[in-house]
Amino acid sequence: MRLRTDDDIYRARLVYLGPPGYTLPIQLPYAQYGLFVLLVPLFMAVRWLITGGQIDVIPAWEIALAIVTTSYVFRHVDPDRPARMVIRTALTDWRRTREPATERRDPRLVARRVVVRGGIT
């Protein structure tokens, strides 16, 4: 029997070609547009927090930063490591992105308090 995984389907590259009648010169996956659209207000909010209430009408810097961030994130994304994984790794491991060059101890896993019974009842 010929057996295959479904991952092909999930791996298909779905790009946004452009509005009907006009083909964009650069075709990017939908996911990148989505992330971009989420990042711009995020960066605007960050700027608002830092500078204490100042926003531009045209957030050029935020847009530029969002473009850079999106392309950086998606450089590391592949079908097996979805964008959510990559972002989470970037956010949580920023202090430990490089594994240390020495051995570190982890807590032991013990089964001290497991109750063992012979039968269900």
Binding site: A12, D80, R81, R104, P107, V110, A111, V116, R117, G119
Partner: protein, 1041 residues
């Protein structure tokens, strides 16, 4: 027919012998036998009971003496003066009272000596009850030096008590808890003061950080965590190799239906390994051998042989796998969790009501999983403990005496307590996890690989099951698969969105007037088909399994571990085109192996139909052979398991005939196998007769341990009448049949059958003795029949009577008689005439080898007219020699085990008496406990329906020349022909063209009595000198001279 059947070795750099045996080994040292002078000559089966009683008494005496020695008191003179009856060299004797019925009845007068087995940690105080402030047992032991790669530590003579650190085995500590711990401590302290004793530090309370597992309870086959309940099942191993493809597909379909029946649940499939219990096997073999061959001074004894076999088994490091399937089926309500916490304070676990409710729910899984396909059975609590321990100590060597030479008994929870001692470290650059066992000092690095991108697979046509494939590598690995099974609705919903987006993307390209990439076209058409399948097809076609698949590779050092991971990755990508990834977060991945622990959230989620998940088949295995016989080698297919073969197993246990057939071309290793089986069984006290016309088996008599017990009968120098045909068929005795009227009838039938066989044999022999042109004439046959009818067909008749009868007939008869007498001029033909010499039968030799040294065997492909006189005589000599070999077994005890090895049986082809001989052999094998090993170069005769059903074991060696013989051999193996297995037969024992050395082993395809077929490698190198003795090549013979 898959690739694995044709090629099996990954690369030459991967060696078989794993030099480091990790961990101390338990070994079985049989008690020494009594000296032969003390045995009676007439040992009969009733003596077995007396021998056993005697041995038990001796063990008791030895134990009493050992106990007295420990106590330091002078021995009571209860033994009679004279030579000590038995110097038993079993270390286990001194561990316990041999007369105790259960471990709890064991009385220990003093701390027992160290068993050279897995050293256990000081026992923990029981939950809720501490015997004293300190643990009861004595000092904690220093980590034993496990890293020596020298000779495998095997239990030898019992260690004298005072010169070793005596940690108490746990069971002993348990039983001595009730007597006085103070006395215990005093004695232990006294021992500490004994000389040559290193100072032992006191056990420290462990303060390193520890995290509890998520599992809180094991109840029967259910495990409870704080969120969910999982039901665990053990999946037995299934045969995969050499099965016809339709059978394999049927099995995979059945398994995928079972998975589809589990839709909506989360599964955790674990595959772990268990080391092969070599000591249990040795103990069983020893108990099945009541009378091994007595020891010859200067030669290895029976005990040495057993120890060498165990050592060999350890070196090759076989392990058996166990597959567990856990179905997570219930979420726990808040009330249940809280009540459990409350009850824990009182030492109890989950509330009874909850468990009863779950018990009812879980029955549905029993039904689904017990059906054909997986045939899962509920796992027992101790098996789950074992799984838990092995998951925490991932890749480490397991405690070797669990369930082995069982002199103790592990209580519930003991195994889990051992998890206290496993320390975990994150190695530099996060590539592996280091696990250290604090007690034994063992260090192990584990790398967890996860299954990445998978190309389409053709199972079973071209590829192997993709989670079974890793077993071809010689080291043990562990598997963990966590999947969610989605039913049709769920999976359709999941996929529908993607499918629609793909279609719309395709539309998009069309609108913009661009060419869609071909991949998109393919996916779009596939999307249509899948959508259709899922909405209108069977549930088994639409169910999906989404999850993660991990393989854990371990090694003693980090480099070894990474090297192995690389080898595994390249093997998978080369053969199956499955990419294995080595992600970060190894510590979380290693935790995922433990049942109940959270999933490590790395990527690499695989979504597949349940058919592909079923085709993973981690429980495929390749055991062959019974487990109670002698070690003859190992399997050479995907995994490596030891192969044991007891030629009497089919008769004594399975109640089938004991006829085993061997088919191979010259040079295929028949002599090696015959010689090896003959040696091993002679060692075990079986009466062995080997017929080896042209081979080296007579040299078995030169081996020192067999020399006094071997008799070589060389027919070319034999006396007149040795092969007298009438006497070769034994007359049945009345005592062989049951009493009563039915027995009388059987006896009469048997007597007349014997007579008929004699007539047939004499007729055939006479036809062989006269020239072929004469034999072909019709009148010859008539006259011979007349003569044979006239001469009474009893054992006392001879060929001379036949000749005399023929001479008295008429002119033609006289001519025939003269022709027969002409042949009698040749010295070899005299063997047929006359009466047999009296001392021919009934020798007591354990091993008899019948040879025909210097005899040239004819080529069956040439017509008989062109044979020389000597070759023409060889044919009847072979026929009668086969019968002589078997004849010897009909005198003597019916129930004693006997083995007959017959080589060159293909000469019987075409003769009526030949086939009837095989049939009689097969039928008598059960009655006379006679195992027959018949080697032939052409299986055609054996394929006749009457004989084929009587054959229980089949060995097929290399067949590279003749395609017809190859297909006949496959039919004998009951393996489908014309699918490519002929290539497997041609590639057996294939020497490596790049090396100039000889092949040290021979390979066969073995079908055992339970119809399991597997490729095996016969390897008896653990017996000193056997291979050299059986060496037939010129170089070996020169070296010997």
């Amino acid at each position: 027919m898959t690739t694995h059947d044709a090629e099996f070795d990954i690369e030459e750099s991967v060696t078989d012998a794993i030099p480091s045996v990790d961990g101390p080994v338990a070994s079985f040292q049989p008690p020494q036998r009594r000296a032969p002078s003390e045995r009676t000559q007439q040992d009969r089966p009733e003596d077995l009971q007396r021998t056993a009683d005697r041995r038990a008494a001796e063990m008791r005496e030895a134990a009493a003496r050992a106990a007295a020695r420990l106590r330091g008191t002078p021995e009571k003179k209860a033994l009679p003066a004279g030579p000590s009856p038995l110097d038993v060299e079993s270390p286990f004797l001194e561990l316990f009272d041999a007369s105790a019925m259960t471990p709890d009845g064991v009385k220990i007068s003093g701390p027992p000596p160290t068993p050279p087995t897995f050293v256990e940690p000081p026992p923990l105080p029981e939950s809720g009850a501490a015997v004293s402030g300190r643990p009861v047992s004595g000092p904690v032991l220093p980590p034993q030096p496990m890293r020596d790669l020298g000779p495998v530590p095997v239990s030898g003579p019992p260690l004298p008590v005072s010169s070793s650190a005596p940690p108490l085995p746990r069971h002993a500590a348990k039983t001595t808890v009730t007597p006085s711990p103070k006395q215990q401590r005093k004695q232990v302290a006294k021992q500490l003061r004994a000389p040559k004793q290193p100072k032992q530090p006191k056990p420290k309370k462990d303060r390193s950080p520890a995290r509890e597992l998520e599992i809180t309870e094991i109840a029967g086959h259910l495990t409870f965590t704080s969120h969910a309940v999982t039901a665990w099942y053990l999946l037995p191993e299934v045969r995969w190799a050499f099965r016809p493809d339709p059978e394999r597909e049927a099995m995979l379909s059945a398994i995928s239906e079972q998975y589809a029946g589990l839709a909506g649940f989360r599964l955790h499939m674990r595959r772990t390994t268990r080391p092969f219990p070599a000591d249990l096997w040795a103990q069983q073999l020893d108990s099945l051998t009541p009378r091994p061959l007595p020891t010859v001074s200067g030669a290895p004894s029976w005990e040495d042989y057993l120890v060498a076999a165990q050592r060999h088994l350890r070196q090759v490091n076989h392990s058996e796998g166990q597959t567990f399937l856990g179905v997570t089926f219930a979420r726990r309500a808040l009330g249940d969790t809280l009540s459990e916490r409350l009850l824990k304070a009182f030492g109890k676990g989950t509330p009874e009501g909850e468990r009863k409710k779950l018990g009812r729910q879980v029955e549905q899984f029993d039904e689904v999983l017990a059906a054909f396909g997986m045939r899962g059975q509920r796992a027992a609590a101790f098996e789950l403990e074992w799984l838990l321990y092995r998951s925490v100590a991932l890749g480490m060597s397991p405690p070797t005496n669990v369930g082995t030479v069982a002199h103790g008994h592990w209580e519930a929870g003991d195994l889990l307590a051992l998890t206290e001692n496993i320390e975990r470290y994150r190695t530099p650059y996060g590539s592996t996890v280091k696990l250290v066992n604090r007690v034994t000092g063992e260090e192990r690095h584990v790398a967890v690989l996860t299954v990445g991108r998978m190309e389409p697979l053709d199972i079973p046509e071209r590829h192997e099951p993709w989670l079974h494939f890793h077993e071809r590598l010689p080291w043990a690995m562990e598997l963990s698969t966590r999947v969610d099974i989605l039913g049709s609705q769920d999976s359709f919903r999941n996929l529908e969105h993607r499918l629609r987006m793909i279609r719309s993307q395709q539309q998009d390209y069309l609108e913009h007037g661009m060419d869609a990439p071909p991949e998109l076209e393919r996916l779009a058409s596939r999307a249509l088909v899948m959508g259709d399948e899922m909405t209108t097809g069977l549930p088994v076609d639409s169910a999906r399994a989404h999850g993660w698949h991990r393989i854990a590779v371990s090694g003693a050092t980090r480099d070894e571990c990474l090297e192995r991971a690389r080898a595994l990755t390249s093997a998978y990508s080369r053969e199956l085109r499955v990419a294995l990834q080595h992600p970060k977060q190894q510590d979380q991945l290693a935790r995922e192996f433990i049942p109940g622990e959270p999933i490590a959230n790395t990527g690499y989620l695989r979504r597949m139909p349940v058919r592909l998940l079923a085709a993973a088949l981690p429980q495929a295995a390749s055991t062959v052979g019974d487990r109670r016989g002698d070690l003859i080698g190992r399997t050479a297919g995907t995994c490596r398991r030891p192969v044991f073969l007891d030629p009497h197993f089919p008769m004594e246990i399975r109640e089938r005939s004991g006829l085993a057939v061997m088919v191979a071309e010259p040079g295929g290793g028949k002599s090696t196998l015959l010689g090896a089986m003959g040696y091993l069984n002679a060692r075990r006290g079986v009466q062995v007769t080997l017929l080896d016309p042209s081979g080296p088996l007579a040299r078995l008599g030169t081996m020192p341990e067999l020399r006094p017990y071997t008799r070589v009968l060389n027919l070319t120098g034999g006396e007149q009448g040795t092969l007298a045909p009438y006497s070769l068929i034994p007359t049945p005795q009345r005592s062989e049949f049951p009493a009563g009227h039915a027995g009388n009838r059987e006896f009469e039938i048997a007597v007349s059958n014997a007579r008929a066989e004699r007539r047939m044999l004499v007729q055939d022999i006479c036809s062989m003795l006269v020239p072929p042109q004469v034999a072909r004439e019709a009148s010859t046959a008539t006259m011979l029949r007349h003569a044979v009818r006239t001469v009474p067909a009893e054992e006392t008749s001879t060929l001379d009577d036949v000749v005399r009868c023929l001479a008295g007939l008429d002119d033609n008869g006289r001519e025939l008689a003269n022709l027969l007498l002409d042949t009698a001029e040749m010295p070899l033909a005299l063997l047929f005439f006359g009466s047999p010499p009296s001392e021919l039968m009934g020798t007591d030799a354990a091993l008899t080898v019948i040879t025909m040294a210097g005899l040239r065997l004819p080529d069956l492909k040439i017509e008989r007219e062109y044979w020389s006189a000597e070759e023409a005589l060889a044919l009847p000599m072979l026929h009668t020699a086969h019968r002589l070999a078997v004849r010897r077994c009909y005198s003597g005890d019916m129930h004693q085990r006997k083995l007959v090895g017959l080589d060159e049986a293909h000469f019987m082809e075409g003769w009526r008496s030949g086939r009837s001989f095989l049939v009689r052999l097969a039928r008598d094998s059960r009655k006379w406990n006679l195992a027959a090993l018949v080697a032939s170069q052409n299986p055609k005769d054996i394929l006749g329906l009457d004989v084929q059903n009587l054959v229980s074991t089949v060995f097929v060696g290399r067949i590279a020349q003749d395609a017809e013989i190859a297909s006949d051999a496959l039919r004998l193996l009951r393996v489908p022909t014309d699918v490519g297995y002929e290539a497997v037969l041609a590639s057996l024992s294939a020497p490596d063209a790049s090396t100039a050395g000889r092949l040290g082993y021979r390979e066969f395809v073995l079908r055992d009595v339970d119809s399991r077929v597997q490729r095996v490698r016969v390897d008896v190198s653990y017996v000193d000198g056997l291979l050299a003795t059986l060496d037939t090549t010129p170089t070996g013979q020169v070296a010997r001279r």
